[in-house]
Symmetry: C2
Subunit: 371 residues, 2 copies
């Protein structure tokens, strides 16, 4: 039986779903992979629960999940009280080789992960932030050695970050396979936001922009402040991760982002923003009409091609994979030397705590068996 201990950072929706799935699959992993995934520590900003024995027992773990679901504070379970020093947690656990799993949404974990990797820990990230700050941080998290200025060589034995782009969909893994074969990737184009996919589908169906956004907001498809989705920055981070995956040296500031609202509406209160939405209806009605005039449809697309990384509304051929896309699913097209004129396409649910946690678990098992 092989043992791959886990240190979990973040017990929000994805972290909690991951704990449930790990516990639920213990028999499956033992029987089919002879693999054991003990959890040694669980921490978030509220606190940390750490065992110095073999593992936290499943009852404790599930109790924690239920407790967090009820807005409980981990600190009330933990010895330490508020936990602002995740690096200290990892040192207390002190098991190099263990897999540090980042299910938080903060860039504050970046130094923790870099330090852990440097000390022989492995890492799985569901968190986009550490991979989308400075290039050097991306390099240290994803590459081994430090030839040419901290860049090092691609390797797959210490880190996985599949769920940072398209949740559980095999996007990063597919890109890595194309790169490994030396197939030149000419263009990546993808729809990476279920929320914006929903909005674009609504526009295509002839609804006014204001109506679609209000509906999405009402249904909870958007963040409390819909501008967090409509601005496109989250999509830009995914495009950046793909561009860096291609080996590009590029920063988030270099990604050309076209959001779905004008700058003058970026600062006002949410209510005011919602009231101003109808002023944007004509603009989007025109964009859809212009696209239709060329036999195209409007999608919110992330494009990585010709040295440029851009994100925004784009008219795509109606009969292309992106053109055929409906609703909230994510889709990515890889146009390469061997995959043209029709691209290699990966499509499906690109969000949701369970689908994302399942992708994280796949990354964990791959790392564990890759030794």
């Amino acid at each position: 039986m092989q043992r791959a201990p886990i240190i979990l950072l973040g017990v929000g929706g994805v972290g909690s779903a991951l704990i449930r799935q790990i516990v639920h699959n213990r028999a499956h992993h033992a029987a089919d992979y002879e693999l054991e995934l003990p959890i040694l520590a669980v921490c978030d900003r509220d606190g940390a629960v750490i065992t110095l024995r073999d593992a936290l027992d499943d009852a404790t773990l599930l109790d924690l999940v239920a407790y967090k679901a009820n807005k409980g504070r981990l600190a009330d379970h933990s010895q330490g009280g508020p936990q602002n020093d995740l690096a200290a947690v990892i040192d207390i656990v002190g098991q190099p080789g263990a897999i540090v799993v980042d299910c938080t949404a903060t860039e504050a974990t970046a130094p923790v992960l870099m330090g852990a990797l440097a000390r022989g820990y492995r890492a799985v990230l569901a968190n986009k932030k550490p991979l989308t700050i400075q290039q050097e941080v991306y390099d240290r998290l994803t590459r081994a050695g430090d030839t040419d200025g901290g860049r090092g060589v691609r390797q797959f034995s210490r880190a996985r970050w599949e769920t940072t782009c398209g949740a559980g969909l095999p996007v990063i893994g597919t890109l890595n396979r194309l790169l490994a074969s030396g197939d030149p990737v000419l263009r990546i184009a993808g729809a990476f936001s279920g929320t914006l996919g929903y909005v674009m589908s609504g526009l295509q169906d002839g609804q006014p922009f204001s109506a679609v956004v209000r509906e999405a907001h009402r249904l909870g498809y958007t963040e409390p402040d819909p501008r967090d989705d409509l601005g496109g920055v989250d999509v830009a981070r995914k495009a950046l991760i793909l561009a860096r995956g291609l080996g590009w040296r590029i920063e988030l500031a270099d990604v050309a982002v076209t959001g779905l609202y004008p700058a003058e509406l970026s600062a006002c209160p949410v209510a005011e923003f919602m009231d101003a939405l109808p002023s944007l209806d004509a603009h989007f009605r025109n964009l859809v009409a212009e696209a239709a005039a060329q036999g195209k449809v409007l999608r919110y697309v992330a494009t990585v091609a010709d040295g440029k990384c851009s994100v925004g509304p784009q008219a795509v051929a109606a009969n292309s994979p992106l053109g055929n896309l409906r609703g909230a699913d994510n889709l990515v097209e890889f146009h390469t030397r061997w995959y043209q004129p029709t691209p290699l396409v990966v499509q499906g649910r690109g969000a949701g705590v369970d689908a994302t946690a399942a992708g994280v678990l796949s990354d964990i098992v791959e790392l564990a068996l890759n030794h």
Copy 2:
């Protein structure tokens, strides 16, 4: 610099393309992966070229490829003359840990691969045959150990066979990730034949079956005897590999195959078969009409679900991923607990020597870096 020596079985289209791609990518693999892929032996039924030094040099390899392209016999290059004992070739090379790459199309390599794996070699298969004969052979090729009757546990460190299903498309890898996460796979449905995809698209466009098949034959999209494609057995082998990938204990004889011609036309000469094609036009015109009546379209689908593995023409929802498919691309839908109601979809070119060889090379790099 890490070294992953290769023993290549088969120097047809895929084997030759693989040699070209390995040679072409030496600098890329050295720089980006610190990886060296020396080729120690190249063999096919005509003979074998073996080095007892570090590696066959690239000039010799490319010369071999050109020679084979001109219908030359490897034997004229080789010491041994006709090579019927691949196991002996591997023993002569004598480097356990080396990767045996099967680019042949014969089940005769099965004992060779099993023997090599048992002696510590690793394997990459582009060849479906060894994985679609007896279940026990599949188990020995894809699993480690021999708990419960030779079945053993899933492992990824010794064998890869991504290109046996959808060529370079990430199909087996995606299935393995779903399994690793414990996400229950409820249904797999796919189009795995470019030739049959072309035929089905033609039928959808209103062409008579006889006309589409003759055109495909004329363009060389089909085998010299089109029945080799129309019979569906090649697709059945792919469905079987997916079913066994799910852990099913199943033989090729258990796959329900519906071909595109009646049994009475299976024995006659090709010319006679081509002449008889118009007698099938009405049947397929009706199938298309019946499908259209339910808002569906006709596709040649491999289905793995509810304990049954079947292959044949099937009416699918026009707005489903399979329904949106056009032309020769392959497409596979994974319907799982987390991927429903819309499935996880992988789509793109599912054939071609270069796309297939690139997939084999990705498998080789993954195995080489997975140590």
